[in-house]
């Protein structure tokens, strides 16, 4: 089998439709008779619902119905959303109701929904729904929420604590007792959003004739969404079909189960009308899940050479009001912190706490950016205190390639011991330093300083558990017209899933990419699936595509050998043809072979034949595949305004075997942009009543074209030994260490003033206020 497409810089199959505006996103799909939904949302962060008066709304011409919890089937209205990932450490698994029954725990919770002939009228109707609330005191800051006497997010639970548990190995206390040097940092990471450019959207239609409920949803996880809807509605799973059509970005929040999905589906059944809901941006800021709020108090113990003896500390995680994804973000954070370094003893105590804010769930990186930030800040601190170069401190502590597979000593979130499967951390750092001209940065910096310009450089390393299970399936089927149908539970929100899977199948089967027709994100096409999260699809679906494709190849060869009368070994499969290598190169098309593989009515098949040219594979990874990398950021800081410009950005990363460099480069570049947002711009703010105050793109700043440089990217490929294609995930590595590298670079740029930072986002006013309290800065300005 020749690898023609695998590894090649193949242009995306997704693009032609999207470039002419003929993509089909959920809101683009039109069904006759559709009613439009708009939600009535709580303006309070903590309240008890007293009553709802919907009469004025119903009186509005064009409003067809208003639903509150009481109007849903009783069983459904009482149920809470499913808990996706329970964990023994959780003291509660509290999730929310579909529509508010009595408790309101964050601003924006859905209280009622208005159905009308148009979106405009539905929103008019929302304004006319009168809701009576008993307002309670809210708690906004997770540090307050853990204090005794804090207002309770869920009064019936008696405590705001979700979980308190350690993540540890080795004798960390002994390590610290004997250490020559101990340094401590107090770190805070902001809360932000995924902010896919397409917000959430749902269209549901009940087809009485087929007794089928179809739901189009801008989701990363159609199969999980179907399961949730089935559970809440008490309906047969296979009489619900969830389709993720074109989806305008995911980044994590679209892998969450939301009450709106089920409510809209239920109303479509009840009213026997198609129902559409399209979230607006303000709602997205209020109600789509967010991430990153964490406070870290961490210490590192090192010897005189800067070699790590131990790391310990405490992690305080703000889970918001509910736990749709359990406690996986702090869990992942705690297991990601050791990174590429040899750490003989480690203990991180984590406390997970409710606040009256929208729940936190994974956003691109999922706990890892925080962990890497904490670890890399400690490494920079060691370098500074011991007067070593930051790259040297890291080099001295790397796990070496010959130590692979390397058991860290913890259990990862996949339930398996945290064992790095492969990787070459020193090589990645070496490559990144070279590409960033790290060695001659000091003279460049000195020269810039003479011109009054403050430039700085920062390094960050990471190891990321990707490709998580349990499985993803792919069916490969040769159709009678010679096309090759590929079906997968994997989904596409921009990752180019269609393209990468086509590359793999085309090579395996021996057809052209143009002959592949693909169905993804449709629960009717494949019984089981997971979808997009944890940089898992290339690994899981990619492996299944290879396995299924090779199996179909065998089937093709078997039928072709019989049809052509030559042994299988003498047949080439190319561009959808089986071609005999001998004689006059007789050939037969895949389409004809597909016919032949069906047998003949009344005749027996040959022993060992398969029915049709078709195979379904469900690759189940034995554990996570650990990718890794080094980022080097170069910034220039305006000491007058505090503005930071990222002027150069280098990524040397190892995502195993690269299937399509064009797409991987795009994932890295886009991930870095997200990381720049996290480091310098994006900050979801709430006031002391837990009232969101950054609910537009004018208040919540996303990176623009002028904020993101073209990254210099190098792929250091150490194939993952655990899966048949050698791949590791590539979707999140661009984001994970970015804030760490950028903040280090800012600090480095401002080294003449000895100002230090341990928080993100590092917005201009924080730089200016740090500078104005720095003696060196004041002295310099006094001289001017």
């Amino acid at each position: 089998m020749g690898a023609k497409q695998f590894g090649a810089r193949v242009k995306r199959l997704e693009d032609p439709a999207l470039l002419v505006g003929s993509g089909q996103y959920t809101d683009d799909i039109k069904l006759p008779g559709t009613l439009h939904a708009a939600f009535v949302r709580s303006p309070h962060a903590a309240a008890t619902l007293r009553g709802i008066d919907v009469d004025a709304a119903l009186a509005l011409p064009g409003v067809r119905a208003v639903f509150t919890a009481k109007d849903l089937p009783p069983a459904m209205s009482k149920m809470r959303m499913p808990q996706l990932v329970p964990n023994a450490a959780m003291q509660t698994i509290r999730t929310q109701h579909c529509l508010v029954v009595d408790e309101i725990c964050h601003v924006g919770q859905a209280v009622a929904v208005v159905l009308a002939d148009s979106q405009y009228i539905a929103e008019d109707g929302v304004d006319r729904v009168q809701v009576d609330y008993d307002v309670r005191q809210a708690v906004n800051d997770v540090r307050d929420a853990v204090k005794p006497g804090s207002p309770l997010v869920h009064p019936d639970l008696g405590s705001n604590i979700v979980a308190a548990s350690p993540m540890a190995y080795g004798d960390v206390d002994a390590a610290f007792a004997n250490a020559k040097h101990v340094f401590t940092e107090h770190i805070w990471q902001h809360r932000g959003g995924g902010n896919a450019l397409e917000a959430r959207a749902i269209l549901a239609n009940y087809d009485l004739m087929n007794d089928m409920l179809t739901v189009w949803s801008a989701t990363q996880v159609p199969h999980t969404t179907r399961r949730m809807i089935a559970e809440l509605m008490g309906r047969n799973l296979d009489q619900i079909r969830v389709i993720a059509p074109d989806v305008g970005g995911g980044f994590g929040p679209k892998a969450t189960m939301y009450c709106e999905d089920t409510v809209i589906a239920q109303i479509a059944m009840q009213l026997r009308r198609p129902i559409k809901w399209t979230e607006d941006r303000r709602e997205h800021f209020l109600c789509a899940t967010q991430e990153r709020d964490q406070y870290w108090d961490v210490s590192i113990a090192v010897d005189d050479d800067g070699r790590i003896i131990g790391v310990r500390g405490h992690l305080l995680h703000d889970s918001g009001a509910y736990l749709p994804w359990g406690i996986i973000m702090p869990y992942i954070a705690a297991t990601t912190m050791p990174g590429p370094y040899v750490i003989p003893a480690y203990r991180l105590d984590m406390t997970v706490v409710f606040t009256n804010k929208v729940p936190t769930t994974p956003v691109r990186g999922a706990g890892r950016p925080q962990a890497v930030f904490a670890m890399e800040r400690l490494m920079d601190r060691v370098a500074r205190e011991l007067k070593l170069d930051p790259s040297e401190v890291r080099r001295r502590n790397f796990i070496q390639p010959e130590q692979m597979p390397y058991p860290v000593g913890l259990v990862f979130r996949d339930g398996k011991p945290l064992v790095y499967d492969s990787g070459d951390y020193p090589k990645c750092q070496e490559a990144a330093l070279k590409l960033s001209r790290y060695q001659d940065f000091k003279p460049r910096q000195a020269e810039a300083l003479e011109q009054g310009r403050y430039i700085g450089i920062g390094i960050a390393n990471y190891v990321e558990g990707t490709g998580l299970g349990p499985f993803e399936g792919v069916t490969v089927r040769v159709l009678p017209n010679g096309k090759v149908r590929v079906i997968t539970g994997a989904t596409n929100q921009g990752q180019g899933t269609r393209t990468t899977l086509s590359q793999i199948v085309a090579d395996a089967v021996g057809c052209s990419m143009e002959d592949i027709v693909m169905t993804l994100g449709d629960t009717a096409a494949i019984a089981n699936g997971l979808g997009a999260f944890a940089s898992r699809q290339a690994v899981n679906a990619g492996s299944s595509a290879r396995i299924a494709g090779l199996e179909v190849r065998k089937q093709i060869l078997r039928v072709a050998a019989r049809s052509l009368g030559v042994p299988e070994e003498q047949i080439d499969l190319e561009d959808g043809w089986a071609i005999s290598r001998s004689g006059n190169r007789q050939s037969i098309s895949f389409g004809r072979l597909s016919f032949a593989s069906q047998g003949m009515p009344g005749f027996s098949m040959e022993p060992g034949d398969s029915v049709g040219l078709e195979h379904t594979a469900f690759y189940m990874p034995p554990q996570a595949a650990y990718c890794s990398g080094t980022h080097v950021a170069e910034v220039e800081v305006d000491v007058g305004t505090g503005a930071v410009k990222v002027v150069n950005y280098v990524v040397a990363h190892d995502c195993g075997t690269v299937i399509n460099p064009l797409i991987v480069d795009g994932q890295v570049q886009g991930g870095v942009a997200h990381g720049i947002g996290n480091a310098l711009l994006e900050w979801m703010q709430y006031d002391e009543n837990a009232q969101p105050i950054t609910v537009t793109f004018a208040d919540y700043l996303m990176p623009m074209a002028t904020d993101v440089p073209d990254c210099v990217i190098e792929h250091v490929e150490t194939p993952c030994p655990l899966n048949p294609i050698g791949a590791k995930g590539a979707g999140e590595g661009g984001t994970i260490p970015a804030a760490a590298a950028i903040i280090a670079a800012v600090e480095n740029a401002l080294s003449p003033f000895a100002v230090f930072f341990a928080d993100t986002p590092l917005v201009p006013e924080r730089i200016v206020s740090a500078l104005t309290t720095a003696n060196a800065y004041r002295r310099r300005h006094a001289q001017k």
Partner: protein, 163 residues
Amino acid sequence: MTVKQAIAVTVNGKQYQREVEPRLTLADFLRHEINLTGTHLGCEHGVCGACTILLNGLSTRSCLTFAVQAHGQEVTTIEGLAEPDGTLSPLQQAMAENHALQCGFCTPGMLITLTELLRDDPNPDDAKIRETLTGNLCRCTGYSGIVAAARQVAKGGRGIAGD
């Protein structure tokens, strides 16, 4: 309910006559009245740029424009950028070649903004391309492919369709 107004708007060279409420945005008119769903809504408050169209040749937020304001005017959307025979404009081709889109949601706005830029300044430098793009957010790509696509067309000096 408000009285509807009759409007006639030329979109991608074709005239459409509809009766619309004065509050209907141009974006919703395009998307839902005449079913040109290639124009996207990412924020509906004028920042993200996904809804950008050309109104009489000038890039305009269709989420902040009422349909009635487009009465008697000419609108170009993403659906109107390729040649009538379906051949992609050089910019559209360059976008595919440079991986300038992932989810494609920002793409209509990016194409319109750059179509206008390259029409008015066939040879913009990177700084100008980036400055022009500050009115368009992309969450997926980190912009480099988009800038590269514009650069490629600028260098090619091929001019582009859609103006």
